[in-house]
Chain length 266, copies 2
Amino acid sequence: MGDRKVKENMRNIALLVEFDGTRYAGWQRQKNVLSVQEALERSIAKIMKHDVTLTGCSRTDAGVHAAGHVSNFRTTNPIPVDKIPIALTTALPDDIAVLEATEVDLDFNARYGARAKRYAYRIWNHPRPSALRARYVLHEARPLDTVAMGEAAQFFVGKHDFRAFMAMGSSAKTTVREIYKAEVEKDGYLIRIVVEGAGFLYNMMRIISGTLLYVGLGKIETDAVPSIIAAGRRQAAGKTLSAKGLCLERVWFDAPLFFHHGGGIP
Amino acid sequence: MGDRKVKENMRNIALLVEFDGTRYAGWQRQKNVLSVQEALERSIAKIMKHDVTLTGCSRTDAGVHAAGHVSNFRTTNPIPVDKIPIALTTALPDDIAVLEATEVDLDFNARYGARAKRYAYRIWNHPRPSALRARYVLHEARPLDTVAMGEAAQFFVGKHDFRAFMAMGSSAKTTVREIYKAEVEKDGYLIRIVVEGAGFLYNMMRIISGTLLYVGLGKIETDAVPSIIAAGRRQAAGKTLSAKGLCLERVWFDAPLFFHHGGGIP
């Protein structure tokens, strides 16, 4: 009966979160360093009047940003769901923003429910770095062939064994992942590598971006990319680019959860 | 003869500088706090192998950003002028970038030679703040009437006594200034108040922006703006908006100095 009462009051709340990852040791809570999860849990605890544990859609690395990270937590607090982002605004640090909150089924899990994700890697391709964009881009002073980069990106689309694009020393049950879209956009000096996929291996997006950067520089031939994928040797792919250029832009679930979806960084 | 030799070797170098003002106590060197001028002078001293004194086009306030600040310094170092920005790249902190350097006449002075400036004030007009734009915008959650703001902005164009738009307690020989352009641009949730003028009083751009914000909120009638200007009472104008939304975008001199001109923040 007591158990049943708890269950009846229990709510599952999903959050759409934007964060600047510069100050944080990644999404996931860790000892002795500040994570986005911990900062967010602390602010939510103040509003909800009880400790909460967030389940995140993705463990982003230290320094990686998000325009549309999704997480969920359980609460018995009856606060109307649309009041949660408003109440959180003053409780949160400036570099974390809860854009929307929505009530979801009790069995919704932001980690296991995530069906696809979009990441963008941003490169500032200008002879000089940009002081006003420094936190959100990798600076590359040498001219890049973005047409070649866009052609090479197409080879990543589809279901492939991406073991060559996984950080050395990490492990995964399977290194096969499906990529739905991989494009290179250019807007003035800003180059965006946009990749959508069902899942990503550890550092996969940063290694794909590093490989496309090498294609842009002429260090890797466009046509060499399929054989780099097929050979499965990490050393043949490009370097792992700096975390600060990476942004988790959007996450898809079985059904749409939010009105916003994270617009990315301009 | 000695004097003459120094003069013959002396060069005057103008710099186009982008900076994120968040960490700095404004442009001008001050005791016990870090200014953009001091950080920049230190880096230049390393490259030039002697102390330098910069003359800046404008004393921006603490927290104000610049996409195209111009300053100049004298040196007898024969380094080719186009090598200066490259040499400075590694010496500068990430939040200051020298985009271009050019050699100018010995009598060029970035402060007295500045003929006009463009400032942009940026407002993020969305129910929730943006974590990825927090350093560069003022957040306003209430809906703003940007059409009314644009109409009101037109009243600032022309030669007016702007004493109502000067920080209380500050002084100026004359409070008459000429504004060439004042426009309100809207791009999604981002509103930019763009003002070009021959000169600006202390806090003038932030008070003009605060007045236009009040117009956008319906707190000040569009048609009331001319009488607020004419009355010359600081209390009748809007509040002084936060420094972080302000960016010095461009400075004009008698002749163009640079190929770039500071693109602003997107």
